[in-house]
Symmetry: C2
Subunit: 349 residues, 2 copies
């Protein structure tokens, strides 16, 4: 497979097939790992980073279930291609920004992605559709074991895995869940819920992780602390909290449907009407309206639209995706025009 094949493929986690996928878009786990006896990426010189890349690449090449993977070095990619990978949640903005021996390996169906020479030498990630951290943990532990048979990771018996940033020391793990919480936002309960989550040592972020704001009523909830807990502890803890949030969102949805039926239907149908008729639309407005349509599909107000189409649109309407689809650079005005056209086409189909 090659990078350009990704544009015509739907990542597994976008299909909306996983557990609780009416509320949970995706579950993601990443492990941060570093090779023994080589400085962390930020301190490593060019030769050391090249060595890291070559070692890791050759080990990944040997893993049979990564056989159909795509290997991409940042230095070979255009700005649009890098942004495209960020938009698909396959690499971090930090990896996209650099070039020096930074690379990514993306497995078939985009289930695994392995960033090389990001903040840590290796960051492996698994994303699954819906609320499925257990499955994500099972898959990533399998990959981690495969790697450990061939690599010696920086590890300390007392602290666990050593990482560039102290917050990752221990398991080197971040488990995060992308939640769609439009009803909690509409009923103005969201702030209370987010405050509670923060008190439980969990972080709340926007669509693209650290430093991004919530948009489209999507909230990414992840563990803050990794030191002193096992991988299973972390997953169990976040799972317990997320179950609660899912329950709150379900209650808020059914209260909206019961008490404000016309207002809710009106909001959702208007969003659908605008999306299926607009001739130019910004990314921000499109995300907000798609969020309402997503809710509409999930509460059975919009029966004719399927959830995969909506989930896919959140990805496809982004700037780099639009440019890859058109196979040329588009200025923002032209992107707004193409975005509107794409949405109309997909909603009509």
């Amino acid at each position: 497979m090659r990078l350009n094949d990704l544009i015509n493929q739907t990542s597994e986690w976008v299909k909306g097939t996983g557990p609780e996928s009416e509320i949970v878009m995706s579950s993601r786990i990443r492990f941060a790992r570093n090779l023994e006896n080589i400085p962390f990426s930020h301190w490593a010189d060019s030769g050391q980073k090249k060595k890291v890349l070559s070692i890791i690449k050759s080990v990944l090449n040997k893993i049979d279930y990564l056989r159909n993977s795509i290997f991409l070095e940042m230095s070979n990619l255009s700005t649009v291609d890098r942004q495209f990978l960020v938009e698909r949640h396959l690499i971090s903005p930090e990896l996209a920004a650099g070039s020096d021996s930074k690379a990514v390996v993306i497995s078939d169906k985009e289930i695994f992605s392995c960033m090389i020479n990001e903040e840590d030498h290796l960051r492996i990630q698994v994303i699954r559709s819906g609320f499925n951290l257990e499955e994500a943990l099972r898959l990533i532990e399998r990959l981690d074991s495969s790697l450990e048979t061939n690599l010696r990771f920086a590890y300390n018996a007392r602290w666990g895995y050593l990482t560039a940033c102290p917050t990752n020391v221990g398991t080197g793990m971040r488990a995060s869940v992308m939640l769609h919480l439009p009803a909690l936002v509409m009923t103005r309960q969201i702030n209370k819920v987010l405050q509670t989550i923060s008190k439980l040592n969990l972080a709340v972020r926007g669509l693209y992780g650290e430093g991004t704001e919530a948009s489209g009523n999507f909230f990414q909830i992840s563990n803050q602390v990794t030191l002193g807990y096992s991988e299973k502890d972390i997953v169990d803890n976040i799972t317990r909290v997320i179950r609660q949030v899912i329950d709150y969102e379900k209650k808020a949805r059914s209260s909206l449907v019961t008490n404000k039926e016309i207002e809710l239907e009106d909001k959702i149908w208007r969003a659908y009407g605008t999306l299926s008729n607009a001739r130019t639309i910004s990314s921000k407005e499109a995300i907000e309206l798609l969020s309402l349509v997503r809710l509409g599909v999930n509460v059975r107000i919009l029966e004719s639209v399927d959830i995969e189409t909506i989930n896919k649109l959140f990805i496809l309407i982004q700037p780099a995706h639009l440019q890859k689809l058109e196979d040329k650079t588009l200025d923002p005005r032209r992107r707004d025009f193409k975005r509107a056209e794409l949405i109309r086409d997909k909603l009509k189909a």
Copy 2:
């Protein structure tokens, strides 16, 4: 015919068949007349008003082309029925507000309406589709002559017809044209145009005449002065000015289509999308969006909608019309809901 038959009938002037009907909704002429030797309505006592009503009614009854008319006394009508007639432009709010021997005679297809005991004893009105003051004048003069063979109107050789308000003395005529000027509004030329019109001794009003504000980009332009001019002079003068305004609007439309095609298409399609999907909508919002859709049909952006449907909707979405259609009283919330439903149905058909 009876009042309740009107709800299923489309007034001739709403059909959008007249000259320049892409810009001119309708042309209307009314004559104010008073019976000789009876005080004007505001000074007449109850017995005198009754007499006025009975005289005029019997004369109107004799006119053959008014044979299928509806005769309605305000005192027999519910508030909703009166408002319904105002919404159809068949009676004035002043007539609707009173009861004492106030009545209206409405001809087949709503071409003529004759208000009895409004400010003047008799106000006859003709409305035609599009820009057609000449035809309106021909029809109203024919009716006026028919009436004058059987009635003696208060008339003074020097001043002309005598009327309750001095501004109507002379011909007793008001000629008005309802213009749809969305492109002049969008291109911010409307104020300049309206100022020029005012300087030419013409009045600019909103959808429902005196004291109403412009909405939906509709502007009603009418003569201010009647004294010292013949009916033909007045019509010629206003016709000349309106031709100019039509020309400005046409230029503004073609400039919008040429220079801001996507923005214009976007506005129009979004309006259409909202109207065909909303589940609740206020009268104000509906009029604004219908105005955009009307423009869209006329500049061939919206090909699947016909102009008669849109023209009809401006009438049907009004509060009393909605209540007549449902045959029951509706509170504002319920009306907003029914309005949205009606618009969706009509646009789908």
